[in-house]
Every structure is written in structure tokens, then in C-alpha cells.
Symmetry: C2
Subunit: 289 residues, 2 copies
């Protein structure tokens, strides 16, 4: 973000300071809170987990093994080694054990791309874990560029229901642990440098299942705009947060949310949440053969 040449120690202080300021500004959590960090094995979430630990917070990592061939096993090893090296407890869950099917199996049975289930399942199980240990907050490693990409994509379609939910912190609601993104003002270049200076080994592979041509294009255009005029992403994201503060969102449609009758997870659907509905469909499809 700034073009400062910094030595190792100064870079680390700068990185920690930026994260602490974000946490304080958005009242994300305090030193007494139990903090779950969803780790994927990539640089952003691992950098976040270590930075939070170094800043004195009580951190527990959570990793969901999706069962992706040529992907999940490496990611799992990476987060386990990370936890051991930096003395951070990491809880590992397997999608196949908790849900009954791996992501690839789901995709094959449902005949739809794996990406269309992945986010829903990850959000569901990370929240379930956070609630099971009564965590105060659930953190994800979304960086400034991730946030800006989502915003960019939602703005291109003026998806109001997403626009007014996009914030670095989302309060606890019925059945959902509070969510926070302490890297919301950190770039991916910065997390990479932090990992290098801290000796964090991370997985640097794109997901083998993601073709994701469409969202990659939107990302690419945003990156090109940044290259055309450096600082664009920063201005775009921060400008949005201040714009948003001035908007009265009460005139926008809000969907009714109620607990799933099966598992209690909040849903906008009539009876069952999307994960429970997915489970039902899968077992129907499997029994039909």
C-alpha cells in the first residue's frame, strides 16, 4: 500500500500495527476473547493467525479438509506443520466425516461444479465449529483485494442485499458467530512478505477444481485498473466504507431469517438451511442410484 522500503523488524511492526488498528477501529474483538481463525493453508490466513497470536490474542485455527485430490492433503499438512511450528492449536475436520461426502463426490452426484457448494459448506462448518467451542469471533483471511473484488462484482450489478452486508466486521446474529476480517486493509503482497520474514511455509497453488473463469476476469479487470492508476483499489474500498456510513439502508429489502428446523443454522428458506437441503438431495440421489 505504501511504497516504504522497511527492514524485517520494521515491516513486522507495521504489519501488526495495521492489523491492531483495524481490529480496534471496527471493534472486532479484545484480548480476553476466544478467536477462531479459518485457515486454508494459503499465505493470508496463516499470516493472520500468526499475527493475531503475536499481538497477544487467544487464537485457535480451524481447517476443513474438503477432500480435493491434489489439493486438500497438501493444505492439511501445511496447516498442521504451521500449528506445530508456531504453537497454535489447529482443529482439523474432514468434510467427508462431518457431512458424509467430500466436495468432489458432491459435485459428481449433483452434477454441478464444486465451486457452487464450496463457500456454503465452508461457512457452515467454520461457524459450527466456532459455536461448538463458544468462540467470541470467527476471523477469515480476506485481504483488501478480496474485499475489493467482491465489492466490485456486487457494484457492477448493484446487488443491494450484498452491498449493505459488506463490512470488515459482521455482528453476531441468531445462530451465527460474529465475523471479522482483520486483513481488510492489508494487501496480498504484504501477507507474502510477512510469511517470508516469519518463516511461514504456505501453499501457493490455485484450487485444482476452480475454473472460475468469470470471477477471475472481474479480478483481472480490477487489477488492471490498479495498474492503470495505483491506489485505485484502496480508494475504491475505503471510499465505499465512508459512503456506506451515510446511507440509510432501512428502505432496502431485508430477507426474513429463521433457524433451520433440522440444525438451527439461520436460513432465508422456508424450513431447512441450504446445507441440510443439500444433504437430503444427496441421499435421495444416492438411493435412487
Amino acid at each position: 500500500m505504501y511504497n516504504l522500503p522497511l527492514c524485517r523488524d520494521h515491516f513486522i511492526s507495521f504489519f501488526h500495527k495495521r492489523i491492531r488498528e483495524t481490529i480496534e477501529k471496527y471493534k472486532m474483538f479484545g484480548l480476553e476473547d476466544k478467536v477462531v481463525v479459518a485457515v486454508s493453508g494459503g499465505k493470508d490466513s496463516l499470516a493472520l493467525a500468526l499475527a493475531l497470536k503475536d499481538l497477544g490474542y487467544s487464537v485457535i485455527g480451524y481447517f476443513l479438509d474438503l477432500g480435493i485430490p491434489e489439493g486438500s492433503a497438501f493444505a492439511r499438512e501445511t496447516v498442521i506443520r504451521f500449528g506445530e511450528k508456531f504453537s497454535i492449536p489447529v482443529h482439523v475436520e474432514e468434510l467427508r466425516s462431518v457431512f458424509g461426502y467430500s466436495l468432489v463426490q458432491i459435485s459428481e452426484i449433483m452434477r454441478r461444479p464444486a465451486c457452487s457448494f464450496c463457500g456454503t459448506l465452508k461457512r457452515y462448518y467454520m461457524n459450527r465449529f466456532a459455536r461448538s467451542i463458544e468462540a467470541d469471533v470467527l476471523c477469515t483471511g480476506h485481504t483488501m483485494f478480496d474485499e475489493a473484488t467482491v465489492l466490485f462484482s456486487n457494484v457492477l450489478q448493484w446487488k443491494e442485499e450484498y452491498l449493505f452486508r459488506q463490512l470488515p466486521v459482521l455482528p453476531e446474529e441468531q445462530g451465527l458467530t460474529k465475523k471479522a476480517k482483520p486483513l481488510a486493509f492489508i494487501t496480498e503482497r504484504e501477507t507474502a512478505i510477512y510469511c517470508f520474514f516469519k518463516g511461514i511455509d504456505y501453499l501457493d497453488l490455485p484450487c485444482p477444481l476452480s475454473s472460475g473463469a468469470k470471477s477471475r476476469r472481474v479480478k483481472l479487470r480490477l487489477l488492471q485498473l490498479e495498474e492503470d492508476s495505483p491506489g485505485t483499489i484502496n480508494r475504491f474500498l475505503k471510499g465505499f466504507y465512508s459512503f456506506k456510513k451515510k446511507i440509510n439502508f432501512s428502505s432496502f429489502n431485508k430477507e426474513d431469517i429463521q433457524p433451520c428446523r433440522e440444525c438451527g443454522y439461520p436460513t432465508t428458506a422456508d424450513r431447512f438451511c441450504s446445507v441440510c437441503r443439500m444433504k437430503r438431495k444427496l441421499s435421495e440421489n444416492v438411493s435412487r442410484g
Copy 2:
């Protein structure tokens, strides 16, 4: 916008219908109103002037000769021939006569690119003309892509003061004639086809003074997004108009506007409008030599 193959007559009906619907939807003007169309010699503004005439409105063209070498003389001839061919009165004014300097002279004396004065001067003199003949409305040939480009550029910086002024129609205010953009939902491909079918000769040259690298890049990125996913520009612009309707803009800063003490044109500055200040600066610079 739609991929319909249409014959000449059906295309012209479709084009007229879309414009009439936009005029009616946004209550732009009626058949009894005096309508000024700012014409540049390009396809959009000429197509607009003829379509409005064909739809039965009372149209007067206005052309400001900016005195750009290798540009203004061709443009001027083009609009004069257009007016004669289609029996549309076109009022021609020369910037040098009304302001005292051509655009190139201003740029040389002020040592700044011509583009930084062009829009201000055009808006000022087209409004002055519209008021001098007591026109009810002043139309410009901005197309959907023009509107989307401005919106895109303002959204990237969340320029709230511009965002809440961006609409296909702006009501009359102190000293300013009502403004309308009847091509707000028409593409440039469509105006080109209309010109072809109607036998409108237009100037198809970029402005020789405009390097405009920055705004061209933003345009290019928006076009690429449209190519990545056709319909993006249409969704982006229409989505914004419905989003905007739901926003309460009262919490946004509005600037105080008062009449210029020299010419009466509305200004946010303390005493004189930007055109009168420009005039003063120019005469100071010239007298200093």
C-alpha cells in the same frame, strides 16, 4: 442491446420508440416544449437531433466552434450540412467571439491541457444559448456507454457529489436550463446504425487535442467487462438508477450554490463562476505578456 436483426424501417421505429419511452419515463419534455440539442458533429448528437425532430419535437441545434485546428472546421461544416439536409435550425457560435479566446489559445496561455477547460466552457455556453432563447430543455447526446463510463469512474472513487447528480434528467435550477439525455439507454452501435439508415454524415474522428489517456483506460476496462460478460454495462447503469431511488441522499454534503456576480451563472465559488474567473486570469496573463 438486444441482438435483433431488424430491417431499416423496424430499426428506425425501435430507435424512436426507445427514445420516446425514455423521454416519457423521465418526464424530460413534451411536444409543446422548445428543445435545444447540443450537436458536436459526431454520430450521437446528430442522431438525437434528427430522432427528436422525427418524433415531432421542436428542435434547435447548438454548435460551439472551439477553434481546434484539424477539428472544429470539419465539425462545423458537418453540422451545417446536417441542418440544411434535414431542415433543422442550427445555431453556431464561436468560442473566440463569445469568450475572446479559442480553446488552443486558452490552453497555451494557461499552460494546462485544453481538456481541463473544454467541458466547463461547453456547458456554460450551451446553457447560455438555451437561456437566451428561453428554451425549456437542453439535450445532450450522451449514450448509455457515456453514462456508464462516468458512473464507473465516479464509483471507483465513490464521489458522492457526482453520484447523486447522475440521472438521465436534471431539473431546472437557479440559472440553469433543465438538462436531459434521451440517449441514456441507447448504445453507440445503435446511433451509428441509425445514422447509416437515415443518411446522416457525421464526423468520426477523435478530438485531436485529447490525449485523455486516463479516462480512455477506464473506458477500455468497462468495455472489456462488457466483452467478458455481455449485458454488464446495461445492468450496471440500470441497477444504479434503481439503487439510487432507494437512497436517502439528505445526509450527503451538498454545496452551496449562488449566482456569479459577473454573469449570473450558478457557482459554488465565493463570487465569480469558473468561466468569469478564467476570463480574468487570461486577461491578466495576456497583459503581463
